[in-house]
């Protein structure tokens, strides 16, 4: 089967520093892959390379078999690869519900001028988007806040909002950068349930995460990065026993 994401020999240098060195891995459709590693291992950089927010020095990325290395960030999102950022990037100056609705942009059929003429088709589409946005907000428990400015939400809610916004874009592959950072235990448990629900609906997930219990409970495959290199790739049970991983990552964190 064609993998949802195939990363081959990815590398990136900043000046003389090798941030990512020859990283390769594949993500099977409908699974959760966790990307872990100590701080500075290059996890966020790898995300930026995959979504082409930063140009790679070498290597290729394929999304469902299609090479995307030469595409712009917009075009990549257009193919269904959607990401959420490490620090939530909700849009200031917009309400909560607008922040969610804007996620549906890549799916919109009516061009701007038809929206301006308020054609029946444009209005129907707009109503559908609003309804879907409000439904997602209801599921996430943010419905009461829908007409507030998004920046008024507490940090945890903003991160949740960003995940919902990404879901509005009907992603095929969803990239999440430390979704549990800054969340308390209850919120983390809710997030975990939500992520597995997303996976069960056939959306492939690639998640950078530090919270090991979340990762071990959720991931089908774990990729361990250290200093820009892959230390290990495998299912959680295998990673847990891997000596190199314990030395590179777990050992250091315990110290």
């Amino acid at each position: 089967m064609t993998p949802a994401l195939q990363v081959r020999n990815m590398s990136k240098t900043f000046g003389g520093v090798q941030a990512i060195a020859d990283v390769s891995f594949a993500v099977a459709p409908g699974t959760v892959t966790a990307l872990i590693g100590p701080n500075g291992a290059g996890k966020t950089t790898l995300f930026n390379l995959i979504t082409n927010l930063q140009p790679a020095t070498g290597g290729t990325v394929e999304l469902f078999g299609q090479p995307i290395g030469a595409l712009t960030a917009e075009a990549i999102a257009g193919l269904g690869l959607i990401r959420a950022f490490q620090t939530a990037r909700v849009f200031p100056g917009m309400t909560v519900v607008e922040n969610v609705a804007v996620g549906a942009h890549r799916l919109m059929q009516t061009p701007g001028w038809r929206q301006m003429l308020a054609t029946p088709g444009a209005r129907r589409e707009e109503r559908a988007i609003r309804e879907r946005a409000e439904l997602l907000l209801d599921i996430a428990g943010l419905f009461d806040m829908r007409n507030r400015a998004a920046t008024e939400l507490p940090m945890g809610a903003q991160k949740l909002l960003e995940v919902i916004r990404a879901l509005m874009a009907a992603p095929k592959l969803l990239l999440l950068d430390e979704p549990a950072a800054g969340l308390n235990d209850t919120e983390t448990a809710e997030l975990s349930a939500m992520l597995s629900a997303i996976r069960d609906r056939g959306i492939t997930l690639l998640v950078v995460e530090h919270n090991m219990s979340l990762v071990m409970g959720l991931a089908d495959q774990i990729v361990v990065l250290d200093a820009g290199r892959t230390v290990a790739i495998g299912p959680p049970a295998e990673i847990r026993r891997n000596r190199a991983v314990i030395e590179a990552y777990v050992g250091r964190e315990d110290a």
Binding site: E74, G93, M94, V102, T186
Partner: protein, 633 residues
């Protein structure tokens, strides 16, 4: 050959003054990462104070000059302490631009009140007799200009590179937060750079004073040329500022001598646009560019102004009754009607500006340029080629769209600061072309004999008919824009404004949306310009010149940007108040500057935004159920 060298020297002298102004820009940019568009006004204030000391108080030249510099320094200290430095702490870069436009307008308006609108000049420092050097005649004041410029440039270089203050300046530029933690009084340094730049500007103005005449609003021109010099040289670099000033001075003098003085400005601006598009960081780029990039990432925090469907509907209904019934019934025949029509026409142009600045977040300092293109194209086609007015108007819109696309193709790649200067240059370019192409446009005295607007034989020849024409167009445009803004189009624009990177990551084509907003804005500006001509039966460069761009900016900000209907408040305040209270007309410029400053600092969401925030404020206590749910979590 000799005359060529003579022209070169003239350019060099002019360039020295541009260079001094540019140094001021660079200094402030280095320390505060902001562009101070009031820079040129300090020049003129210095020269005006000196002139008063010489002419009215009869003080010796040297004392007058000293008083001029000190007076300007004092004024700059007050303005820096109360306006500029507080603004730096709370406004994003683009809003700082507008704040300094406010300072510029306030200073010009203040000068108008104090010194009136007549032209002044200064006494030469050391006689008028030219000094002959190798067969070339150099006015002694020219030597003063070169000497003062060289001294200030040298002293500034020493200050920046060799002293503790200079090191502190550079630290503030690199990282204000870290500088603060290291015990550097960042705010004090920002104030110091602001005052120092003003003093340098005043010195430049006083030194050039004897060779030229100046009046209350000459400062705007100095600001523009100083800013252009700084950008050509590479903003933030003091050496680049001087070199940029010299290049610009020589280029304008050569153009004036060999082409036409009417086109000198146009060529200078074309030069700037070329430099901007090929080498946006200028001839000498400075390390400050990194800082700009960092700043660009800081998020804008803006109030969310949403009236909601029900309240919005009520407002729209009240507005419709007022516009279609009450106003024409009660004021139909009064003298106020004309001002109301002008308000409506300007509002069309400001609506475009609002879409571009308030929603897409792109600074445009040249909206009046599109008004001029639309106005002149339509008028010329109708007056000289007897085209129907509607076709003329459409042709104007077409030409504006072509210009907008050309400008956008290059300029929208540029960010913040550079986009602003490119649009400013565009507005000035159109401005100087409309003066320069006098065979076509009637030159400075304007184009006369423009007929009334007419469609299919129906002539809009009375004020009331014109009123309904403008009101009708406004209703259609407003309805279309409101519908677009409420839907995906508006959401995409807001997202692009708030965070282009995150918008792109959601698949929003950022560039396409910016260009679309720019084109709509240009088309509306153009339409307003055409209507202006048809209504007044007359069009002059003054009516659609560069200062009008800045006025429309003030209207937008005061009314409330990003709200579509809000700017109407701003347009109405600045257009109707001076008409209603004639004695206020003298204070109009100063007043609009002051309002611009007050609104940028204290009411950034404008009259309308503040009103809506008050209307929609949370009055209901939380329902007990929600409170219980909250505490359970």
């Amino acid at each position: 050959m000799l005359s060529f060298v003579q022209i070169l020297i003239g350019g060099l002298l002019q360039g020295c003054v541009f260079g001094l102004l540019a140094v001021g820009f660079s200094l402030i940019y280095r320390v505060a990462a902001a562009v101070n568009l009031a820079q040129g006004a300090f020049c003129i204030i210095g020269a005006l104070i000196t002139s008063t000391c010489e002419q009215n108080l009869g003080l010796p030249v040297a004392v007058s000059c000293l008083l001029g510099v000190m007076g300007t320094g004092l004024l700059a200290t007050v303005l820096g302490q109360t306006v500029f430095v507080p603004g730096l702490g709370r406004l994003p870069t683009s809003a700082m631009f507008i704040l300094t436009v406010g300072i510029l307008t306030l200073l010009q308006g203040g000068a108008l009140v104090v010194w009136g609108s007549q032209a002044y000049t200064l006494i030469s420092f050391s006689g008028e007799r030219p000094i002959a050097v190798l067969g070339l005649r150099i006015p002694p004041q020219g030597l003063w200009m070169i000497g003062v410029a060289a001294f200030i440039a040298g002293a500034l270089a020493f200050l920046l590179m060799r002293t503790r203050v200079g090191r502190a300046f550079r630290a503030c530029a690199e990282n204000p937060m870290a500088a603060n933690l290291m015990g550097i009084g960042v705010r004090r340094m920002q104030l110091l750079s602001f005052v120092l730049a003003a003093v340098i500007g005043a010195t430049g103005g006083i030194v050039i004073g004897p060779t030229t005449s100046f009046q209350f609003d000459t400062g705007g021109m100095y600001t523009i040329f100083g800013f252009i010099s700084a950008v050509i040289g590479g903003i933030g670099s003091p050496l680049g500022a001087i070199v940029g000033g010299l290049c610009l001075g020589i280029a304008t003098q050569l153009a004036a001598a060999y082409v036409s003085s009417l086109f000198a400005n146009a060529l200078a601006l074309a030069l700037l646009l070329a430099v901007l598009l090929w080498r946006p960081s200028g001839l000498f780029s400075s390390g400050a560019a990194r800082r700009e990039d960092v700043r660009e990432e800081t998020r804008i925090h803006r109030a969310v102004v949403r009236l909601g469907l029900r309240r919005g509907g009520i407002m729209a209904a009240i507005g419709a009754v007022l516009i279609l019934g009450v106003i024409p019934w009660t004021l139909g025949s009064s003298g106020l009607m004309s001002s109301i029509i002008i308000t409506g026409i300007l509002f069309i142009a400001v609506l475009g500006l609002d879409l571009l600045m308030g929603f897409a977040g792109q600074v445009n300092l040249g909206q009046a340029g599109f008004m001029a293109i639309g106005g002149y194209t339509a008028s010329i086609l109708v007056v000289r080629y007897h085209l129907p007015p509607l076709l003329g108007t459409l042709a104007g819109i077409g030409l504006s769209l072509v210009c907008a696309l050309l400008l956008a193709a290059g300029a929208l790649r540029l960010r913040g600061l550079y986009l602003a200067i490119a649009t400013l240059a565009f507005g000035l370019l159109v401005d100087s072309l409309s003066v320069g192409l006098d065979g076509l446009t009637g030159g400075p005295s304007g184009l006369v004999g423009i007929p009334s607007f007419s469609v299919a034989g129906f002539v809009f020849d009375t004020p009331l008919k014109n009123y309904y024409l403008v009101a009708g167009i406004l209703c259609v445009v407003l309805a279309a824009l409101t519908a677009g803004i409420r839907g995906g189009f508006g959401r995409a624009l807001l997202a692009v404004r708030a965070d282009p990177l995150a918008a792109a990551a959601l698949g929003i084509p950022v560039r396409r949306y910016k260009i679309a907003a720019f084109c709509i804005s240009a088309a509306l500006g153009s339409l307003a310009g055409s209507l202006y001509g048809f209504y007044f039966h007359f069009l002059s460069p003054e009516m659609v010149g560069a200062p009008v761009s800045l006025q429309m900016l003030a209207m937008l900000l005061i009314g409330g940007e990003g709200t579509l209907v809000g700017p109407l408040c701003g347009v109405a305040v600045l257009t109707l108040l001076p008409t209603l209270f004639q004695p206020l007309a003298l204070y109009k410029t100063a007043g609009s500057g002051l309002l611009l400053i007050l609104f940028s600092l204290y009411l950034p969401s404008g009259i309308y935004g503040t009103l809506v925030a008050w209307l929609t404020r949370d009055r209901s206590p939380r329902s007990p159920l929600v409170a219980i749910e909250r505490s359970a979590q």
